[in-house]
């Protein structure tokens, strides 16, 4: 699996660390929604929006859409731009 970092270009997946679902970007205002925010996951077998860090490269946080059955990478953006 290779991920194309917007800063560094196409790199081996071993340069990246996986954090989890990109829904972590949507931090809720309401404390009651926090359990769901921290613990519940979509976990479907298709495309998954997720957060990776290019930790052994430019260290940018990335928003990646990846098919979790085929590992095809569909989209890579900087997380801070995806957040809007």
């Amino acid at each position: 699996m290779r991920i194309t970092c917007p800063h560094c270009g196409e790199r081996d997946s071993r340069e990246f660390d996986y954090l989890g679902a990109a829904s972590l970007l949507e931090r809720p205002e309401n404390p009651a929604a926090f359990t769901d925010y921290i613990y519940s996951r979509e976990n479907s077998a298709g495309d998954n929006a997720e957060l990776w860090q290019h930790s052994m490269g430019c260290r940018a946080w990335l928003y990646v859409v990846r098919n979790v059955t085929t590992h095809d990478i569909k989209q890579v953006r900087l997380a801070r731009e995806a957040r809007t």
Binding site: L19, I38, R41, E42, N43, A45, V68, T69, T70
Partner: protein, 416 residues
């Protein structure tokens, strides 16, 4: 047929013509009192105990592929009870106790081999953590032996004790731990359930639930609708997908775990060893193959096959611990999809839907859990009460904060 030495002798003399298929292959009925989804270790064990211990009749196990084709037939067969936290401790202790008589219980040889499970320590801090774990195990009534370097050099002389980066300082041994024959566990429970009248229905995928007024009525399957009074979900890496059909979102990610086996070798590794640095563990199968594995690949996956970085990582970790491994030829590698729960511990509980029950989130520990998981899930489904040894595996613990985070790594499935 009851298996016995007499049957083996008799069949040896009569050309082995007396053996019969081990279970029936029935057509699904229109409705059952209890339907278990998933014919892996947990589903089959649940059906067995429901029928045997609780006298429930009219049970079906629905399996989308073939019995035992999931993780129960893909795992590395390590059985142990050396966890750390209350909740996990009593559960795995109960499970190990059940393992010790499982072959007799099922009249089927599950080949339990209590060759010990050894966890290595590579620093003073790690040795202290092992001592703490050992004390927790002793306090639960399980065995634990903290081994110093001399003892360890005698017990497992082939380790690279003086490795420059990860020298071995000692280890924690649980002598009652070991391995079992994974397929035999699936087959033994399947045979036992069938003998108690359970319908084992293969090639039958559950594709939806029929729920009316908040109560379960039955399941939609690839072989038509099947009515059910109660439904138990036991589908290992597919729990999220199945629960979603009932409108639930679970605290689970699905990940792939790989395992590896070498060509058969003469007896070499006398126990089950887990490296304390980098996740690597190894044992030797009764056929002689060295069986080993490491961590999950690290990111969500439904691909029943792992990627190469973990293959390389596991090989490197193995070589660091046991340089002679480099001389063995690796024959096969494979992967299985596992439910990785947000705290690393399983869930055995009711759900918001009346009559629908959940058994999932087994992570790395699901094989050793099989007997106690089946017994506890059957107890819950039959009586509505949580078995005392599985009372902490609740779904709402993520809300109430009663997490069972044995590794202490937080809500990060890829860190458990």
């Amino acid at each position: 047929m009851r298996y016995s030495a007499f049957q083996v002798l008799k069949n040896a003399l009569t050309g082995n013509t007396g053996w019969k298929p081990v279970w029936r292959n029935p057509e699904p009925k229109k409705a059952y009192d209890v339907v278990i989804v998933g014919g892996g270790g947990h589903g089959l064990a649940t059906a067995y105990y429901l029928a045997k211990t609780y006298g429930v009749q009219n049970i079906a196990v629905l399996e989308k592929g073939y019995l035992g084709g999931g993780n129960v037939g893909r795992n590395t067969t390590v059985v142990r009870a050396n966890y750390l936290l209350d909740g996990n401790l009593e559960f795995y202790s109960k499970s190990l106790e059940m393992w010790e008589t499982l072959s007799q219980e099922l009249n089927y040889n599950v080949m339990l081999s209590q060759r010990g499970v050894l966890m290595l320590g590579h620093s003073d801090g790690q040795m202290e953590a092992l001592a703490r774990r050992g004390n927790a195990n002793l306090a639960t009534g399980d065995d634990a032996v903290l081994m110093g370097l001399d003892e360890l050099r005698a017990f497992t002389p082939y380790l690279d004790f003086d490795n420059g980066r990860f020298p071995v300082k000692g280890g924690l041994l649980q002598r009652t731990g070991g391995t079992a024959r994974h397929d035999a566990v699936a087959w033994g429970y399947a045979r036992g359930a069938d003998l108690h009248g359970v319908d084992l229905i293969q090639n039958c995928e559950v594709t939806g639930f029929r729920i009316e007024n908040g109560a379960i009525k039955g399941v939609e399957t690839s072989r038509g609708y099947i009515g059910a009074g109660k439904v138990g979900m036991a589908v290992a890496g597919r729990s999220s997908q199945l629960a979603e059909m009932a409108g639930m979102r679970l605290p689970i990610e699905s990940h792939v775990l790989q395992a590896f086996v070498t060509e058969g070798l003469k007896p070499l590794i006398n126990t089950v060893i887990s490296f304390g640095m980098g996740h690597f563990y190894i044992s030797q199968s009764d056929k002689g193959g060295l069986v080993y594995g490491g961590d999950i690949d690290g990111y969500n996956s439904y691909s029943q096959r792992g990627n190469l970085p973990m293959v390389e990582h596991v090989a490197e970790a193995g070589m660091a611990l046991m340089p002679m491994l480099g001389r063995a030829r690796q024959l096969r590698s494979w992967g299985g999809i596992m439910d990785m729960s947000m705290d690393g511990a399983p869930i055995i509980d009711t759900t918001p839907v009346d009559g629908l029950f959940l058994n999932g989130g087994w992570c790395y520990g699901g094989f050793k859990a099989t007997p106690a998981s089946g017994a506890a899930f059957a107890h819950l489904m039959a009586t509505g009460q949580h078995a005392d040894y599985a009372a902490k595996f609740r779904l709402n613990r993520f809300e109430t904060g009663h997490l069972l985070d044995d590794e202490g790594t937080g809500p990060r499935p890829n860190r458990h």
